[in-house]
Symmetry: C2
Subunit: 302 residues, 2 copies
Amino acid sequence: MTGSALDWIALDWGTSNCRAWAMARNGSVLTEARSDKGMGQLTRDEFEPALLEMIGPWLDTAPVDVLACGMLGARQGWVEAPYRTVPCTPVGGDAALAKTIDPRLRVRVISGLKQVNPADVMRGEETQIAGWLAQNPSFDGVLCLPGTHAKWVQISASEVVSFRTFLTGELFAAIKNHTVLRHSMGSGWDEAAFEDALTDAMSRPEAIAQRLFSIRAEGLIAGLSPDAATARLSGLLIGAELAAARPYWLGQNVALIGTGGLGAHYARALSLQGVTATSADAEAMTRAGLIAARDGLSEETT
Amino acid sequence: MTGSALDWIALDWGTSNCRAWAMARNGSVLTEARSDKGMGQLTRDEFEPALLEMIGPWLDTAPVDVLACGMLGARQGWVEAPYRTVPCTPVGGDAALAKTIDPRLRVRVISGLKQVNPADVMRGEETQIAGWLAQNPSFDGVLCLPGTHAKWVQISASEVVSFRTFLTGELFAAIKNHTVLRHSMGSGWDEAAFEDALTDAMSRPEAIAQRLFSIRAEGLIAGLSPDAATARLSGLLIGAELAAARPYWLGQNVALIGTGGLGAHYARALSLQGVTATSADAEAMTRAGLIAARDGLSEETT
């Protein structure tokens, strides 16, 4: 890697997978690697071998900095990176140093954020937020980060003021795979069914447990298609989330940090409420956030 | 079994287990048997061997009537017993005859009920309802049947007028076992946490997806105990159900057909809303319903 030599390694280690980027001094990505060895399946001693499996080919004899975000900083992860308390900037302060055996590795882990009341936590999203703010430094408004644990985040003066987490993505998966509705689900999508369910859930969010069983009943006796059933489940859950998150988006400047289909469903759901959200790619924001966090650390240590 | 000889066999075959009772002519139970070979794990050909495993010791050479209720009457069950449409009596009409090889068995299956709009279905609960009405023939009001798929049933003039199903029990299990909340759950109970969550969910049922994640967050940063976490999850889900089922219980004459702890939680939840519900045991109601259904069939065939 001469000319554009490896300067440091950016790492996003979540519960179910891990992504690493070899970074040049100018901030460009030289190459990348992925692994499905998520934090959820690793004991503390298994992180270093799993990392070396991914990035070993990038190393020679010189030590290299690795800056990481995500669930590897949880208590059950590689090293606990204590939560910082909002209101605060999304990243900052010291990063936790992970124990390593290989002398070439210097692995530091970015802290997650916590909110005392109402109690809430994030790990990984703070880095995406930092990436967004690095690219949109004057942004004032609300960030929506769909996913397993969807987050709504209020931003003002470059700080995270408050946030709320919704179990929406994980509920979708648990219901789709582990209830009687698994017999009704399809692999496709029915946009009209999604939008109807969304509207329905927003007007009567309390009825969700009965609406869920209706998906099964209509499949049995009224010919509801599997694709419509899947889209309706998604619409009900996202609709209930939007109903509860109303203070976060109503009359606000909203940006969506999402990926693929799910991001598009949230964008459509918001637009049906009259909210036009700017969109950004989640992975790109993670990388931008890691770069911004490294710049912050460098400033402190020089 | 002379003296109190076997007259017929009552059978409750659900998704996850099966119970059989050897019945004397006078309606008393001679003996019983249980199996965990639920309908969910059996193909059509496997029902008869599974039944013989349970009741084989009760048979001699004479043919015997078996009257059954539950999911064995579903399309994927032993024989499809077509739904009857409400409003109607809980049981009645022909029972579906299952194919058998052993000449001693004459197995008939009670139909479930369906509601066209809003679409809804039940299989098994109709028999418990029939049992309740056999013992309380002049009952006019609402039956609540907690469980995997909780039902609220409006009864008038001995007929099921309408009903709604809530996925509450299955949601509880799916969230407890298949989301991040599994790390926070205990095996005990905290009544105060249950009641707080119930009140919370009834006043803001739309906030449930955020309240769910709070259970995890408070476990991480505010010391919420595992028992309180479990009770809070239950309170949130039952509270959301009660909020949506309000037209069914508000100012109504309510009876609960439940078992054990879950029945007690529903009774407590209703009493906090000022509703004093009569309670009956679910298994006893199933047996009473099968007896009532058999009496109905006998009348038609004589």
